[in-house]
Symmetry: C2
Subunit: 410 residues, 2 copies
């Protein structure tokens, strides 16, 4: 093979793309049913747009380069900075809340591995301009609705959720210094996966305070987090049927979260995150936009696609054509093409062979293309303006007027 | 404004993206009705994939850079090299002809101007593995079908078409040396737009031969190009209703075309090209694929979008929500959300306010969001398990059982 895809990038052959389009269609449907409008931004942006949010060190994980005009640019690794720019440009004139979603591809220069590629599609759903718990709940409901549309059942997934305001109150109550909070939350985040995290937490905070944090991870005192309880109630009202599990370990490292933070996991031998989001009330302004509370989530196509394939939820690939029109003699090929035009203008996926294959071969090709019916244009029938419509599974045939073929097939 | 898009790149706000999605939906529909399957490839490819087709000098027009692994890479400027790679990888096992289409975004580092951006979407339709004229005709018919679906009428566009085999015969008949043919065709291509091209053609070939070429441009001798006549006939059979105009000036500079070459122009004060394609029988093998005849075309979103806007064919933006559910008192907000969940699960785009606005304000917001109906949850009606469904244009109201709201709205 002379040429290959770059590591971590994918070719989408028809069967592959059909899966991606099916996932995307669930994303579109869930978002639109919840009243979100679709946006998109450029694949390439000024590098500064991303470093302004994540710091200069993010450049090392991006496809960043200098363009021919001397601009420092990068392939987008996420949507939020672009979203903030768009809100800054037009948000002042829009009714609030702004409810936007997108299905962009993102690019990260990371080591490719199972579930993590260098280019992946991600559904992004954001609410800008509301600080109501029902807004957080709607984002969770929308994410769960897409998973339901894809065939996942209530017991297949769990939403683990926490609230950064509650976390901040608990850490303040334990006298954890501001400067230590990021480290401490990083260790809390790792408690489940990394045994050394518990020891490190002891070292950092002493046993008493570390125990207090571990106790919060074991049993969430929801009565002390009323803002989270409001979100959970509104999510239930909005139809979320899967488990909503308050979990102190869900902190989502990113510094800009200010309220509810949550991840949706697929249950299984290991929990796999399929979506994550949270409230980021200060970020739009920090990125040059207006001061508006905001929240959002992302759901990628890679882990989700693996999961749906494992559960055999991926539907069979659609047929390439519905109807094949076949001329019995080369002289009738033009008539066959006219019937194809008739069928296409009535919305059928139809085709005729380009050349003049023998009937048996043409019908075999029609079957391979997925056609369920063939229209056979033979010289005897054609003299009377008729053609044969053949059911390719049963073999049943009927004679119909050529001008009425589309009606017969409808 | 702190951040801007890069020159030649676009933000797609909801109204902008709705136009793009509408154009894309016509592309998808026309391609599927004609039996094409959708593929996609990576946005980023090895630079060599593009220089192998177009020469090293193409790199100057690309977003090309060295990635962090030291690879020379470029944002894709077109689909054909990727297509050739995909055919090389899997084509041998697929039934022929292969009928593939795609709707990728392409990137070129060119001076942005009206109708030409640095990032644009393009519909690509290709047939691989057929040398029949009906295959060329089907591509033309498919392109025309998309334009028809977008509202353009037969007199709005013209397909200008030529055949590189005929061109080669004519040039050979005039004893134009192989080495001069590219230059000569370049001048023929410019005859219409650049007055100096006629003089240059005289200088290059002498008046007799230049006159002969100009005569071909004035009147196309279709009887001497039977391969083109077959394409035209098949295209008519396949339902192409707009003018099919043989034109010796349509040569499409690209060296790899080997048969029919064509462009679709929108008529108007100036002709504007909205699509172009042709047969490239040697290219797949030259790019490392199998020896398969092939043809295809591209249709971009930028000029087409301008044209459709000028002709006022762009449909109004879809409503963000269909139904708003509004609680009259804050205590009923949860019930309103449960009705929202009911409506969404039945496929309605529905929402409730996140907070507890007054009824008048909520109804105004519902109207602004495009809702045509509101479901009003009031304390008196709710005692009986009922809600009011209000038609927001007529003001008509009716009382219905809460559990049956979705049925009432269907």
């Amino acid at each position: 093979m002379r040429f290959q895809t770059l590591p971590g990038f994918r070719d989408f052959f028809p069967a592959d793309l059909a899966v991606r389009r099916w996932i995307e269609s669930a994303w579109h449907k869930a978002a639109r049913n919840a009243g979100f409008e679709e946006i998109d931004g450029p694949v390439l942006e000024a590098l500064e747009l991303f470093t302004a949010k994540s710091g200069a060190e993010i450049a090392g994980q991006l496809y960043a380069f200098t363009d021919k005009g001397g601009r420092e640019v990068a392939l987008r690794p996420e949507m939020t900075p672009t979203l903030a720019r768009m809100v800054a440009a037009r948000g002042a004139g829009l009714p609030k809340p702004i409810k936007w979603y997108s299905v962009p591809e993102f690019y990260r220069y990371e080591k490719p591995q199972r579930g993590r590629l260098r280019a992946f599609f991600q559904w992004n759903v954001d609410v800008i301009g509301s600080d109501e718990p029902a807004a957080d709940a709607e984002a969770i409901a929308c994410a769960c609705d897409a998973l339901r549309l894809l065939g996942l059942e209530r017991d297949d997934v769990v939403v683990r959720i926490n609230d950064r305001r509650f976390v901040a109150r608990e850490l303040a109550g334990l006298d954890v210094a501001e400067a230590d909070q990021a480290d401490v939350l990083g260790l809390v985040d790792k408690l489940e996966r990394d045994k050394s995290a518990a020891t490190k937490l002891d070292d950092k905070l002493g046993a008493r305070r570390a125990d207090a944090l571990r106790a919060l991870c074991d049993a969430y005192p929801l009565q002390r987090a009323p803002e989270l309880e409001s979100v959970l109630n509104a999510a239930r009202d909005l139809g979320v049927e899967c488990e909503l599990q308050p979990d102190f370990r869900i902190v989502r490292g990113l510094a800009y979260y200010t309220g509810p933070v949550w991840e949706i996991f697929a249950r299984g031998p290991v929990l796999r995150a399929v979506a994550g989001g949270g409230r980021y009330d200060k970020l739009i302004a920090a990125l040059g936009g207006p001061e508006l509370p905001a929240l959002g989530f992302g759901m990628g196509d890679v882990v989700l696609g693996e999961l749906l394939a494992e559960k055999q939820l991926v539907p069979p690939t659609r047929r390439r054509v519905e109807v094949a029109v076949v001329a019995v003699t080369p002289e009738l090929a033009g008539q066959a093409r006219r019937l194809v035009a008739q069928l296409r203008s009535h919305g059928f996926a139809a085709e005729a062979p380009y050349g003049a294959p023998k009937l048996v071969k043409a019908l075999r090709a029609a079957d391979a293309a997925g056609a369920t019916r063939a229209v056979i244009v033979g010289p005897e029938e054609w003299k009377d303006g008729k053609v044969v419509v053949r059911d390719l599974s049963s073999g049943d045939e009927k004679l119909v007027a050529a001008t009425e073929v589309w009606r017969t097939l409808a």
